[in-house]
Symmetry: C2
Subunit: 209 residues, 2 copies
DNA sequence: AATATTTTTAAACAAATGATTAAATTGTTT
DNA sequence: AAACAATTTAATCATTTGTTTAAAAATATT
């Protein structure tokens, strides 16, 4: 009979496993990571993984839930700020979000990859994001459209374009480094630059017709 | 001793395997696909996979090479057209490339995912793309920058932005469908729309300051 | 200190997986 | 038709992989 963890004890073993799993899953994806790899990376006995998390999949789902939350958490808050204009939101959002991506550059490709193979299992976790379409920010854009300040297009285009400008470089970094002849350091400097450039580009796009 | 295929015979068996492998690898990634799955999808005996391709990895590398070529093939040709202006190239490129992506929507996420986990093995295959940075199109952009028609930014930003606007929606389709409340059919219609919208947005971005 | 509980360990299990073998079948050449 | 080569098949092999077990060690409770 499976034992329950009644005391978090040091929390250290459980957390060591979680951290090792997060690192490896994020780098290589669920299917490419073995439980033995995780155990070794965490410096613990293999059986402890199942003792604390029951199965590789349960462990993965925990990691995935945290990762998806991190992926959208910052967005949701900023999207619903009632006290800032549309343009101010764009500035803040892009800067904060690119900062997050610089800290966790492998996060988006991990999430998008797993979302493809496991869309069924992870469908529920997406529900939290449905609200985005009715956020203050989206309403501000739609109002600007009705007022004729911005050409009318399907809101999905806007969301796609904004995400694309922020996220895509991190998803395609190996490709972009090769094509653009930039090394890792230069790449990160360019990502820093984008914190100021992307808002300019997005605003220009929004008004373009 | 491994036998060599001396006659392509019907080419049908070999091609059936290749097609099944392409489909499955593209959908689920290298690590999630088993040789038995490929054999079943192809409707052939398991041993034939090794008879024709020696190993799962050799088969994968063949598929990957073809996929990467398809991913950039259209771009290279258009990028080097001497007889079109920068703006004309943008129109053609976007329209053709999005058409390709509509036909093979899983291609980009597949390539970008495998490029992450296997960057070492696939590094060589990327060399063919290095030339992109010295194409006619890139030179036209750089001339427009020197002429002051376009603000000066690192060329990687331009490449990243253009790729992002074309590719990202296909990489993030499950997410965008959820957030934007669009079904598969509507999504494809929106992608068709983008063939005309993205060039407008890109041109606006290029000039933005 | 004695006892119970929780955590850790080494070993093993069963299933899955990539690959191979040897025989059978099909096709080609002479 | 006979002989040879190429292709296909079923069975098997050796590892790998996720998971479990039972005992030992560490920690907490009485």
């Amino acid at each position: 009979m499976a034992k329950k963890v009644q005391k978090p004890t040091d929390a250290s073993t459980e957390e060591k496993i979680r951290e090792a799993a997060r690192k490896l899953f994020t780098q290589k994806g669920y299917a490419s990571v073995t439980t033995r790899e995780i155990a070794e990376e965490a410096g613990i006995n293999l059986a402890l993984l199942n003792y604390y998390f029951r199965s590789k999949e349960k462990l993965f789902l925990q990691i995935m839930e945290e990762s998806m939350q991190q992926f959208i958490q910052g967005v949701v808050v900023l999207f619903n700020d009632e006290n800032t204009s549309m343009d101010e939101k764009i500035d803040k959002l892009v800067s904060n979000y690119i900062d997050m991506l610089i800290s966790y550059p492998d996060l988006p490709l991990f999430i998008l990859s797993e979302l493809r193979s496991n869309s069924n299992k992870l469908a529920m976790k997406l529900d939290s994001q449905i609200g985005l379409a009715r956020s203050t920010f989206i309403r501000q854009i739609q109002e600007a459209m009705r007022a004729g300040k911005i050409p009318e297009v399907h809101i999905m285009h806007i969301i796609a374009n904004m995400m694309a400008m922020m996220v895509f470089p991190f998803v395609a970094s190996p490709l972009l480094k090769k094509i653009g002849h930039v090394n890792d350091k230069q790449f990160m400097e360019l990502m820093q630059e984008r914190k100021k450039l992307v808002p300019v580009w997005i605003k220009a796009m929004l008004k373009a017709r």
